[in-house]
Symmetry: C2
Subunit: 592 residues, 2 copies
């Protein structure tokens, strides 16, 4: 067997007559008694290998002992299949390989689940045997897509003059942001490194260093309680530039996304991408990452109903809140009273006290609250919601944030339940003009809505002290199909403004200069105007691959408790290791 | 100033007459009184900006206030310089920019050192102000080269069907190898993740998963005491393949290196690369990573001198050691007795008891030991060393390992001292046929010379129990100019052989199956024959950039005590953070 190995999935009718060497896995074996068919799988795909006594008695005998997932090498002749046995579902289905010799390269125990797509296996088992799970066709495709997308973006950024640069993983814990993963130092007793939550400060330093255009596929770490779409470590496409405007950064990002969509999905993205201000996104979709693949937009009815006889609506508006509604158009007959009760329970999760509803009939509005509205008011509601026969109108009256959260979630749920979402569509959009700060009433202080290095919009800088809540940020988020792909901003590049920002966030000048010493100092030595963006690569791959679980896009992911059933990480360590790190475990609470 | 910004370093005579907008840093400012010249630097290079009262009094006035490293934006006209003022050392030296308007984008304090190359600054200061250090031309070039080399290699690997895949950073501590960096788990009390020393086991699992061709620019971590060429975190180009032979992996690596050398350095690498067996490398160069840019090869004289009257030589050979020599040809007259004494001190560092020497003159050999050799023996020595007039012959007689270490180091030192090394040359070579195991006499056990997953050479497998020290590995190291660029091997892919290997290393079957459970299990489910290579990317960049310090190739490196003078990492953390991790600091020893 000295011929060069060929790939199973690349054999075609034009190869008929060739003698080939193939190496791969036994996907399936059918023993017809004196005749054995093996679907041989390698990274390129599958081809059918046929073992006959006429061709090789010895090979047939070996094939009898072979089982699923054995690794074998076969030598044989590519032959055209009989017309009757051509398999049009396989790209190699016009041919098969008549085996002349076979070697078992490695055996395989009977796997805990088959490597065929579609078998329902618990995620724990999948993760424990990840090396088998990854053999599935759909997993192979996802990681090929992941590679392809990264190469396309790297190539794009390279073409635009960006340098790929690596920032440290062993860095310093910073007070703002999520919880850090810490790494005890052996040399410096009692000191710890922190794994980076993002390379934010380093990429700003790279700008101060004059590189002007940086990118990195950066591993980031957050020690937070995990949700379905969070992982303790994740990858972001991290980009920073100097001397570019918000518009230029957004345009560059759009060109990059267009290149990825074209090369990876064959989709032509129409540029420029749509934009929504944060305020519009919230009032029209109840979300700062609106899914625009369907309608069901929120309509503000506060003005229309504030004088109506329905006390709930009137009070909400009078109390500084609002009344908004969505029109589930054409589906009124699909919703029973019971269905609507379920929707009411659903909005309560988001803090709404209730869900008011009206149905539109040929005779006008019906429903329990219809009676509170004069004919004129009913007309006004119908007009505002463009309501017609068989529409269901759903209202929430509450504090503004509750109205947005609950109706935003409700429109998503209803769209899903009614199958209104075109899954083949990729709706990108920008959300712009974010608030710079958020006020935490409990703690009585402002927090940075993005991070404390975000540049306020020029016209609002004067309001930083007088009306911080009104200050808009030079920030932009990229949204795809209701997921935040990532976001960016221009950064503060003058020391006095950065000090001012920290002051608004409740730091004294001394604290700011101590905790962010190297940034504050760097800003004094010729920091250029700069800004950038960071996109979640795992999530992008998830959306491009049509997956719903982030774990299907990460090669070796962690479970919801941040552990790995495959390696059993995290594990225990020896006393000697702890001693070297000058640490000891705390005595456990004996509260049992 | 609405024109599109242009790059300073790209302006040429053909741009004369154009009005341009430039943004960048003040590299240098010369005030000739009523006439100011500013060297304006951006990422592309430098151009001279000229401020005159005729063109703009306002701009001139602003230019008076500008200092080094200010960030400015200028608008002006590109004009041809007078012939007398053309600067042929600058690529933009034929033109200058007559400034019509200038804006100070940001000011800069007087930097602690100038941003010009060549200024001698202590490394601590360089690291503390890394963002200034990185502005230097040679640093900018290094990181452009680093980017370029990574893009070339990625593109090569992509073309050859390799997928770039990301393995976890939060993984499990393994007993073999260097010291791990540990990351305490918050959720799993008393448990720790380990940062990977390399993705070795994960890349093997990727092969078991059937991807066949993987690569990654992988961040790796080792908590070891640092030397000049070590960093706690470093980047390796990590490659793994299935179904490829040692020859095929080496050939692929060679093609990749040839592509990098061509595209990054313009050097045509002649393939295949030279090879040396480990045994030959040691006996001819006294090193497993020989620098072949110069001669001074070791010559084994044991046979020649074993019967001579010089007891030191005789005893060394009789005692199982050897006598080797190098011929410093044509330089005998450059070495005084005192010089040779210094060389003797030097070899003592490597354990040699002394350094014997002879000089060759027209009348034969001279020197203190000449008298111990008969004329015939003298002739044999001269013949073996190809010695002629004015050659200096240096001998070490000792245990084999001491002979190799000391003469290996000595040839390197002498080549450097005598300036025998052509620094413009890139001498790649493979070292092959490594021993699989090394015996540690102190601990009385074998250790894996590479790692315990290395495949023994086929013909030696039987010797694993009977004569482990004779077993050669299917391993290969790539050497460049005396530095180990990296190495690889075929891996063990059968469970019984892996168990055998662990047994030789002193693990019981139970221990092996416990500590490497997931690998042992994976080998049971259809593991393909596989192997790979890992190359040190930082070191490759260092050699390509002509640097001598690894820290000049890492954007934000650590000092020898694994700290970062810029961010002051590692730092202290709060009690609350430690509590969350169920840890406390050990009480300090009060030995003061």
């Amino acid at each position: 067997m000295t011929e060069k190995r060929q790939l199973a999935g690349e054999l075609r009718l034009s190869d008929a007559g060739k003698h080939v060497v193939l190496k791969g896995w036994v996907q399936k074996r059918r023993d017809l008694g004196g005749l054995i068919f093996i679907d041989l799988r390698d990274r390129s795909g599958i081809v059918q290998a046929v073992f006959t006594p006429a061709k090789s008695e010895a090979a047939l005998q070996i094939a009898e002992s072979v089982r699923s997932e054995y690794v074998i090498e076969v030598q044989g002749e590519v032959v055209k299949r009989d017309d009757a046995t051509i398999n049009e579902k396989m790209v190699t289905g016009e041919i098969e390989v008549l085996v002349e010799a076979v070697t078992v390269l490695n055996e395989a125990k009977n796997p805990p689940f088959t490597v065929l797509d579609g078998e329902d296996v618990s995620e724990d088992v999948r993760l424990k045997y990840r090396y088998l799970d990854l053999r599935r066709e759909s997993m192979q495709q996802t990681f090929k897509l992941r590679h392809h997308a990264s190469q396309v973006m790297r190539s794009f950024l390279n073409d635009e003059g960006y340098l790929e640069m690596e920032t440290p993983m062993l860095t310093k814990s910073t007070p703002e942001g999520a919880r850090d993963y810490l790494v005890p130092s052996r040399i410096h007793e009692g000191h710890f490194y922190a794994l980076p939550q993002s390379p934010q400060l380093f990429k700003q330093l790279i700008m101060v260093a004059g590189f002007e255009r940086y990118f990195q596929f950066a591993r980031c770490f957050r020690d937070e309680d995990l949700r379905a779409d969070r992982q303790p470590e994740f990858t972001q496409i991290d980009i920073e530039t100097s001397f570019m405007s918000e518009e230029e950064i957004m345009a560059m990002t759009e060109r990059m996304m267009a290149r990825v969509m074209k090369e990876v999905k064959g989709v032509d993205l129409s540029l420029p991408l749509p934009r929504l201000t944060y305020d519009d996104a919230m009032s029209r979709f109840g979300s700062d990452k609106p899914d625009t693949r369907f309608g069901l937009e929120l309509v503000d009815l506060s003005e229309t109903v504030k004088e109506a006889g329905f006390k709930v609506f009137k009070d909400a508006v009078a109390g500084g809140g609002k009344v908004s509604a969505i029109n589930v158009s054409g589906f009124a007959d699909k919703f029973s009273r019971k269905d609507i009760d379920k929707l009411t329970d659903y909005v309560k999760i988001y803090g709404a006290k209730g869900l008011a509803w009206l149905k539109v009939t040929a005779d006008g509005l019906t429903g329990p609250i219809a009676k509170f509205f004069e004919a004129e008011e009913q007309q006004a509601i119908q007009t505002a919601l463009e309501a017609k026969d068989n529409d269901l109108l759903l209202f929430v009256a509450d504090k503004t944030s509750v109205v947005y959260d609950s109706l935003g979630a409700l429109r998503q749920k209803i769209a899903k339940d009614l199958d209104l979402i075109d899954e083949s569509v990729f709706n990108f959009l920008w959300v712009t003009d974010w608030p710079l700060l958020e006020y935490d009433a409990d703690l009585g202080r402002y927090f940075a809505a993005h991070h404390p290095f975000t540049l306020p919009q020029k016209q609002d800088i004067d309001k930083l002290s007088s009306a911080p809540e009104q200050v808009k940020a030079s920030a932009y988020d990229l949204v795809l199909n209701g997921f935040e792909l990532g976001g960016g901003s221009l950064r503060i590049y003058k020391k006095d403004l950065q000090e001012k920002m920290f002051e608004v966030l409740g730091f004294t000048k001394e604290e700011a200069n101590e905790q962010f010493a190297f940034l504050m100092q760097a800003l004094e030595y010729g920091a250029p105007p700069h800004g950038g963006i960071a996109l979640g690569f795992d999530r992008l791959v998830m959306l491009l691959a049509g997956k719903t679980n982030l774990r299907d896009t990460i090669l070796f992911p962690k479970t919801a408790s941040a552990s790995d059933p495959l390696t059993n990480a995290p594990g225990t360590v020896s006393e000697a290791q702890l001693d070297e790190l000058h640490l000891q475990l705390q005595a456990k609470n004996s509260e049992e």
